[in-house]
Symmetry: C2
Subunit: 160 residues, 2 copies
């Protein structure tokens, strides 16, 4: 059975930060990635849409990159939130991260039609900057590895 | 004026390899990225859809990663095709690449509502493996830098 994310950090983002095409709950057209804790690992589960193909039968790499990207910022938000003494669903507003850099190694063609499970390991490298190593599995097989460096969203990202 | 891609390598891919969500001309839901030569540089131009937001007013990073990804494989295909003596539109079937690794550095928040212009520099590192360095501009400003290592599509990617 695939892991289910019950309490996701994205559910607690303030409304003005909930429009991300990847993980914004208010973006009707988006993927609605949801990222939560599984012990000291982070998890995002996503079923690619029929059109998310590279060639028929295999998942589009840009979708996998998007999954790793949002899983990374969500994982960093989870980690800083926990460091601050909070968990998703506890009522406090979590920090909101953006991606400084994204790296993806495509290990093998990713089969389409099964959920993708991204599993992350989070490391603090600065109070406002975190590194998230991610492995993406399909049918329990490792298909891609990724790394995100995420930084707390700078004020320049918000228009007055 | 933004550069226009008149002859794109993706227009010449065989039908069975034209389903990529990023750059497949037959994928009705996809982005339809199109990549062509501009001298010895490669160019892809794309106008993000209204929903492709990170937060309102700025482009989603996963979309930028997707653009760099498909621009990379398209650029590699252009380069190997030219090495083989062909140009897009000349009637020969071009090679089809897949991404081995993708790296993106997000330089600054990318404004939404203007075309993104990806400009690539292609380097051969192996007869079946190419490196594509890409810069992504919005309003003429550099917003992201990327690197793709692309390999000729292995036979394991095609189901019998």
């Amino acid at each position: 059975m695939e892991p289910q994310v019950i309490r996701a950090i994205q559910d607690d983002y303030p409304d003005e930060f909930a429009w991300c095409y990847g993980c914004g709950r208010l973006n009707e057209q988006g993927h609605h990635f949801r990222t939560g804790w599984d012990g000291d690992k982070t998890v995002t589960v996503y079923m690619p849409r029929p059109e998310h193909t590279a060639i028929p039968g295999f998942v589009y790499g840009g979708l996998i990159a998007s999954l790793i990207d949002c899983h990374g910022t969500g994982s960093a938000a989870l980690a800083l939130h926990r460091k601050n003494g909070h968990e998703p669903g506890s009522g406090e507003t979590p920090p909101r991260f953006v991606t400084a850099s994204l790296h993806v190694d495509f290990v093998k063609p990713t089969p389409h039609g099964v959920p993708l499970v991204a599993v992350g390991t989070v490391t603090e490298i600065h109070p406002k900057k975190w590194k998230v190593d991610t492995e993406v599995f399909a049918n329990g097989e490792l298909c891609a590895r990724g790394q995100v460096v995420a930084v707390v969203m700078p004020k320049t990202f918000v228009r007055g």
